[in-house]
């Protein structure tokens, strides 16, 4: 709790009211908000200041005694409950926790790292037909059609979506780790 006080002492120029209003906005909308989204409703604030306020807010939420985190996701920021309390929160919301099948994860992995990828690309890697899984992921909005490949048959190409980034708490595709090299595979 004292970290941000060291990092951003009152004199450092971060307006406490700006931090408060940013918290209010992220809390009330519940959504991923990009700096532009925040700036759109806070026109008198420089985007640079908004980023500073987000940093302060994020540092504060990182404290042990907070139940809410500020996560950088899908090109923006979202407040989420801390994963330490996942079970209790799911129970209070009476929701079944999201379950991802291995097939879904594998298909997503191929598309995420290869994108754009065709169904054939996915089938080739996995050695089994992935049609039903691809369809399901489209329905769930985790992948989208991104054009056709210029090869015979002109098959559809797929890419991951913002919802994919949100689901896996990724700020952008660049934050996907690089695939393991062949040498790293040996256990």
């Amino acid at each position: 709790m004292s970290d941000e006080i060291l990092l951003f002492p009152t004199g450092s120029g971060v307006d406490p009211e700006l931090v408060a209003v940013v918290e209010a906005l992220l809390f009330a909308t519940g959504k991923v908000m990009r700096v532009e989204d925040l700036a759109a409703v806070l026109p008198e604030q420089e985007p640079r200041r908004i980023v500073d306020a987000l940093r302060v807010l994020g540092d504060r939420c990182a404290s042990e005694d907070r139940g809410v985190k500020l996560v950088e996701v899908a090109g923006g920021w979202q407040m989420r409950s801390d994963e330490r309390f996942a079970t209790v929160v799911a129970e209070a919301l009476s929701v079944k926790p999201v379950r991802l099948s291995r097939a879904a994860l594998e298909v997503l992995a191929v598309i995420a790292w290869e994108q754009p990828a065709t169904k054939q690309d996915v089938d080739q890697v996995r050695g089994v037909d992935s049609g039903a899984t691809v369809r399901k992921l489209l329905e769930q909005g985790l992948i989208r059609v991104a054009g056709r490949r210029d090869i015979p048959g002109r098959p559809l190409e797929y890419r991951t979506t913002r919802a994919f980034l949100q689901l896996f708490s990724l700020s952008d595709l660049g934050s996907l780790p690089t695939l393991a090299d062949a040498e790293e595979l040996a256990d």
Partner: protein, 267 residues
């Protein structure tokens, strides 16, 4: 590793079935065997893994378990690759750039392993709705709001498909002017007229079916193929063996019959 075999609860005799969802296909089974037998996947020799795989598949068969086709195809592939290893090398020199099928196979397995690990990595990330939860915001609709679709584009395609399935394509109310010696030029003009009367578009078999004389039907069909080539009509068949829609691209009075293959100008 979850148990591969599980008792199926049936009244008298509990039958044993393979839970195919344990493995994501033959490559996944191979990786399991690689790990089980402590094989180094970076220096994989096909023979080592082929034996383990074939033994596994054999055992499943011995237990009278049905095995998915994919697994049998893989077994055949492995037998083939293994035979390359056992047979003495042919005296004929092997082409330099021809990849060794065994190495290609090992590479494929390694590729799958890389993605499998990547998939596990994804699954271990903090997941929204499993590990972290966003706030449930009570919604009250507002005017002038962005539009949202309940479906993705394939869902929309389903809507279209359902419509097509439910829609009764009305029989075109057409009568072909039939003459005993209809030539292709006449057939083409007549067909374009028919299409004009149905809004430029009709179902091909319904149109052809409305022609009584077989000869006229045949000449009209050839005319359709000719017109397709010339771009005078377009046809579309969305489903294999499904209805074929024919659409006119030009009007009957725009058709220059001299462009038709085999057209003979009659005086």
């Amino acid at each position: 590793m979850p148990s591969l075999f599980a008792a199926e609860e049936e009244d008298a005799t509990p039958a044993w079935t393979v839970h195919t969802d344990v493995f994501e296909g033959p490559l996944d089974l191979l990786l399991y065997l690689v790990k089980r037998d402590g094989i180094d996947v970076t220096a994989l020799r096909v023979a080592e893994i082929a034996d383990a795989y074939l033994e596994f598949v054999d055992r499943m068969r011995g237990l009278n378990l049905s095995i998915a086709g994919d697994y049998l195809v893989m077994a055949a592939t492995l037998v083939h690759l293994k035979s390359l290893e056992i047979l003495p090398r042919l005296p004929t020199p092997v082409e330099e750039d021809e990849p060794d099928p065994r190495e290609a196979f090992a590479q494929r397995l390694r590729d799958y392993q890389r993605y499998k690990e990547a998939a596990e990595g994804l699954g271990n990330r903090p997941i929204l709705g499993r590990d972290q939860f966003a706030r449930v915001v009570p919604d009250d609709a507002a005017e002038d709001a962005p539009i949202e679709s309940p479906f993705d584009v394939f869902g929309l395609l389903d809507v279209y498909r359902e419509l097509l399935a439910g829609a009764s394509t009305p029989e075109p109310q057409v009568t072909f002017e039939e003459r005993p010696h209809l030539d292709m030029g006449e057939a083409v003009i007549e067909l374009l007229r028919v299409l004009e009367s149905t809004g430029g578009r009709a179902e091909l078999t319904a149109v052809l079916g409305s022609i009584r004389l077989k000869a006229a039907r045949v000449i009209t069909f050839i005319g359709v193929l000719e017109m397709l080539k010339l771009g005078w009509v377009s046809v579309q068949q969305d489903v294999h063996l499904g209805p074929i829609a024919i659409e006119a691209r030009i009007r009957a009075d725009q058709a220059d019959l001299r462009a038709l293959q085999g057209f003979v100008e009659t005086a």
